[in-house]
Amino acid sequence: MKVILDQDKCVASGQCVVAADDVFDQDDDGIAVLLDPNPSSDRADDVEQAAAVCPALAIRILG
């Protein structure tokens, strides 16, 4: 799977980090950082959760 993060949309909720801290991190102001743009398929549930709870709809998953 491929993950796309739009940092301009991010509102620093940090909920992606709570859902999948091996895929997402935050910078000092809370803006999300993508650690792994191609997580393995066994991470699918957590990454989908991260995308679903992102209040700014800043995370998209392809494939």
């Binding site: 620093a12 935050q26 959760q49």
Partner: protein, 407 residues
Amino acid sequence: MTSTVSTGGAHAPSAPEFPMPRAAGCPFDPPPALKEEQEQGSLRKVRLWDGTTPWLVTRYTEQRALLSDPRTSADITRPGYPSSAPVRGSSFSFILMDDPEHARQRRMVTAPFTIKRVEAMRPAVQKIVDGLIDDMLAGPPQADLVQAFALPVPSLVICELLGVPYADHDFFQENSKTLISRSAAPEERGAAHANLIGYLDELMGDKIARPADDLLSGLGARVGAGELSRRQAAEMGVLLLLAGHETTANMIALGTLALLEHPDQLTLLRDSDDPKTVAGAVEELLRYLNITHGGRRRVAVEDIEIGGEVIRAGEGIIVPNDIGNRDPDVFADPDRLDIGRDARRHVAFGFGVHQCLGQPLARMELQVVYSTLYRRIPTLRLDAGLEDLSFKHDGSVYGVYELPVAW
């Protein structure tokens, strides 16, 4: 003369009044009339205190879609904005603004709420919680949990984070209570707001003169750099102080009451050593109780086709998260408190760019509280009848005024 001219919704002439009353004896459930509206359809018209008839959005999917739709505005000064009371003054905090100004101001205060910074505060919060429980256990075996525990926990935490002297808590709690009360007269609310702004403005002066390592000092530096007016900084301070303690305090007291009324769920929580169980219980209690019960407010800035209706530009939109969190299409058997369910997609903190800024901190505080209080006082019980308790029907944050407990 006829008064049946449609204003964009077929239900307007007979629109029910909003907000609606809860049922007696069901303190945790949203108003039955709100449930009925949800059963009728996702978009309904309601009538407000001023006679206007904004849209009421009752289903989870449409709620999330509208709260994250850039064609909706949170600007309270726009015509058509469905305000819950007469709009006062001319200066507002960023929750009542749109991007890009909203984003610019919000980003000034996001740093302390990153997951890492919040986790770093966990030991300090644990110490506060343990200290307050020590005090309770050292006295007679009964207390008002609101005053002895629920209010001090988040107050101490937010005061520390902002750099507000906790010694002033009687003053700002009293004024906060008036400010968010629906039953207070507009003049009373105006005076309470002026008191809080005056207090924060004076404090901001101290922070500018003698900066410390706290959030208000950070805002003071931005005032010095010309990024923010001192008035805007004071408005932000009031927002953070208010949001930081009223909400979490009510989640602690009302959450405890809900657990005492559902002893099987309380036992499950108390007997688990798994932080995931505690975190799950926090999410379920946030979903089930949804203490911000006045509805998120927006106004459409363009026509929006959604849920089989068209919201016209200039029409008001009210999104009551409490009923969205009880949508049976999203949460099975939604009126049941079940701490084992996956409730993480709830909208108790709102959704979209205005979602609660302090939610990571609130979640962590509640995790510490719910994993500590009932274990350290396992015999905790309600020291009154449920029918004797007085609930905050009149405020924008729901909860219980007093919670007599014994152990």
